[in-house]
Symmetry: C2
């Protein structure tokens, strides 16, 4: 099953030419999950040729504009595109009031329902589950209530191994095996064990999104071993004091967290506009944790 992440924006709050505000799309099978939605996310989706209609769930980390000001335009365009399917939006308190006020004051009646799901940014808990993924909140520490999101793939079923199957099984027998059952004869005795004709499923994959936050070593436990970790690094470590004052992390800290959490790969993003060149941030993070990449606009990573 497809499990991949596309980066739509790498900038922090002050925008600059060519760097855009935070938004990411996680594709799991046929479902698209939008993570944060900075201004002009709809333009980024068009650039990446991602069909808006495939997005059914949006996860907002916090109410700083660079993480959610694109939501209004996207909702409007979905309306113009004739959407009728409900749209689920997960986010902190206040977002529902902002959305309701916008819609009311601009006289906009949507033809689809918005199912707003309030998240408690202070707790790590399961907030959503479907056939593809489970989604958990990850408490961040920032200047306003903020949480990251952890996407864990649902366990996949063991795969039937064609070569091990006896010939002439009925469709019903094959379905029973697919469900994980053994086959029994009329007397109730097992004559074909599920375990003997299947290969174990690959382990479920996981992606953790951590933005915006100061360095939080306790986060390592919650994202332990994930296949892909995105961690913000607004500054280089020589600006640690400024990072702490503004509720952000440094590139070194992002690398440290990845190492501590023993993740497989690290993406860093949310770069301050003071850095025209991003190589120094990559170098600094990579010194702590080698498999690190810059989360640049248009990058697609298979998890």
């Amino acid at each position: 099953m497809e499990f991949e992440l596309t980066i739509l924006g790498s900038a922090s709050a002050t925008p600059m030419l060519g760097r855009h505000h935070t938004a990411q799309v996680l594709t799991v099978g046929r479902e698209l999950y939008l993570i944060d939605c900075g201004e002009a996310t709809q333009a980024r989706l068009m650039e990446q040729r991602i069909r808006f209609g495939r997005i059914n769930r949006i996860f907002i980390s916090h109410l700083h504009g660079d993480h959610f000001f694109g939501l209004f335009g996207l909702l409007g365009t979905l309306q113009l595109q004739g959407r009728t399917e409900p749209l689920q939006i997960f986010g902190p308190a206040g977002l529902d009031e902002i959305l309701t006020t916008q819609l009311r004051c601009s006289g906009m009646a949507l033809a689809y329902d918005i199912d707003f799901q309030l998240v408690d940014t202070e707790r790590h808990q399961l907030i959503f589950s479907d056939q593809q993924v489970q989604v958990y909140t990850l408490p961040m520490r920032h200047r306003v209530p903020c949480c990251g999101y952890l996407f864990r793939e649902q366990p996949r079923r063991p795969r039937l191994v064609k070569e091990s199957l006896p010939a002439a099984l009925t469709p019903e027998q094959l379905q029973a095996l697919s469900r994980g059952e053994d086959l029994r004869d009329e007397a109730g005795h097992v004559w074909l064990r599920h375990a003997d004709v299947t290969a174990p499923a690959p382990p479920p994959r996981a992606y953790a999104y951590c933005s915006d936050t100061v360095y939080l070593p306790e986060l390592a436990e919650l994202v332990h071993g994930v296949d892909l970790l995105y961690h913000e690094c607004t500054f280089l470590h020589d600006m640690l004091e400024r990072a702490q004052q503004t509720g952000h992390s440094t590139a070194r800290q992002a690398g440290q967290l990845a190492r501590l959490a023993q993740v497989k790969r690290l993406l860093i993003g949310h770069f301050s506009s003071r850095y025209r060149e991003l190589q120094p941030l990559l170098t600094e993070a990579s010194r702590e944790f080698e498999p690190t990449e810059l989360a640049l606009e248009g990058l697609t990573v298979t998890v």
Copy 2:
């Protein structure tokens, strides 16, 4: 004095790659007036290398997202840039509530004041005046309360003609002439008439912004003779019925209004995304009124 218009967006509500939502900058002398502020207007300002800090007044026509969703991001960036000067925002009822809710719910305390000026979209009246311009509302007819804006340059002073001036005038005498006074001797008799040493000032220029609206022939009187008219033309005339249903105009109607109002030049914009090619819209409008141009992104017109 500089009096020029820069187009930042030509799209109507449904955005498309390369066409952006409505926003325009009118430069008069050292002042910049922002007219409408669609999503990602701040990105467009950066592309045009326009300094955000020079904008002190913003005029919003109506509360459809493609005309104001860029306001929040722009206000946030002004804050990050350290603005302390107050910012005046003119717009219809509801905009102040949207702004207040956004700021409160996202915990954003601006270091500068927003002076919100409610406009009555149903009346044609003077709403603002400074040393450069007078600004009047232009009632539009759309699906929600909406007005255009008319910018009239303040009358310029007659220009002193160097060759007509006697030698050895004192600075005080020159200043008096500049203020429009005659020079008198001690007995109070005029010895140098202001009219004899000045050339008449060029007539004040005017720019009218009309978007979004159905065709309103009565508008011609209000914008009569302006140097530059921007009029929306969302559709070609074969879609007249759809234009009327959605509160928009056709290219032919935009041309008709320009001719009726005897303006000097016409700009058309706010093109429906159904038109990949814009030449047919230009051709249709030009047939009614020859000096017509497409209001495309990046176009700068001296009024």
